[in-house]
């Protein structure tokens, strides 16, 4: 990837999330930052998931996902789901979680907010798929400040390109 492009994409500040799935009792989470609000009426958001990632197929089949908003006090979630330890199926046993009431997707206890959402549309867009999702339930746990990409010492783009962040000021 062109260096200018990588730096420009890295300049887009994002929240830090853990996308969770559950299929046949197997629970999975992945670190995610390519999430955006879409619509206020009805409320919808998008999540872009790598076409090669394990979660992509599960979300496509189950039409459901959990969006766990990581706060500063829950940073260990990002540390774990970004690490090599998390790159396997059924990878949630390190954290307390419950299955959401309507869609049975994992809600992580350490997340400041957890959302269960139905996938209403999807579009393959390059090496990722955009899942358009409508919340079916929420759990607010903690009045924390959301963790952002700027809080991390590294920049990862689409789970592939990683480089150290140049600190400003």
């Amino acid at each position: 990837m062109d260096d200018n492009l990588a730096r420009a994409m890295a300049a887009l500040t994002t929240g830090i999330y853990v996308l969770t799935t559950q299929e046949n009792g197997r629970c999975h989470g992945m670190s995610s930052s390519w999430v955006a609000q879409v619509s206020g009426e009805p409320v919808m958001f998008t999540a872009a998931v790598d076409n090669a990632h394990f979660s992509n197929g599960v979300i496509a089949r189950t039409k459901a996902l959990g969006l766990n908003v990581v706060g500063r006090r829950g940073r260990e979630l990002e540390d774990y789901f970004y690490s090599a330890r998390a790159r396997r199926d059924n990878n949630l046993e390190a954290f307390e979680f419950e299955l959401s009431p309507a869609l049975a997707v994992p809600w992580l206890k350490l997340a400041m907010i957890a959302i269960e959402a139905r996938v209403v549309d999807s579009h393959v867009a390059g090496d990722h798929t955009i899942f358009l999702a409508a919340p079916a339930g929420v759990r607010v746990s903690d009045n924390d400040r959301p963790l952002t990409s700027l809080d991390l010492d590294y920049v990862y783009l689409g789970g592939r390109q990683v480089f150290a962040r140049e600190r400003q000021g």
Binding site: M1, D2, N4, L5, R7, A8, M9, A11, L12, T13, T14, G15, W34, V35, A36, Q37, V38, S39, G40, E41, P42, V43, M44, F45, T46, A48, V69, P101, A102, M112, I113, I115, D121, H123, A125, G126, D127, H128, I130, L132, P135, A136, G137, V138, V140, R145, P146, L147, T148, L150, L157, G158, R160, Q161, Q168, G169
Partner: protein, 159 residues
Amino acid sequence: MAIEKNELRRVMGHFATGVTVITSIRSSGELHGLTANAFTSVSLIPPLALVCVDKKAESYPCFEESKVFTVNVLASDQEALSRRFAVSGGQKFEGVSYKIGANGAPILDGALAYLECKVTTAIDGGDHTIYLGEIEQAETPHEGKPLLFFRGGYREIGD
């Protein structure tokens, strides 16, 4: 368990984002711009980004007509610029320093980064339209801290 809509909107306000001004140009040459925090990268190969535009926005017809847009990533000292482009009406570009990019859309002076995009797909997203754009050119012309937005307010790093 049904979710109360206002509560749901409040919860969604916990998404932390940067702040951008999305600019475009009509075939008539008229420039348009709006403040947006509903944007994200989408793909590396090819490089794609998306932006969501309110169907009621004054600039919406421009985005429907134009096949290009530019994402201007605002710096922490550009809150006034964000507020200017967040409201309808008026001459938004009057007194604003900018240059015209390769795709014809304005690039705002002082932005930390800009991404010039060509629209590849428009997707219906409720009261917004999702414009998916291929990033044709990108630069980071300025160093500095980004402007942030969450819980309904502007923030800086460290808040």
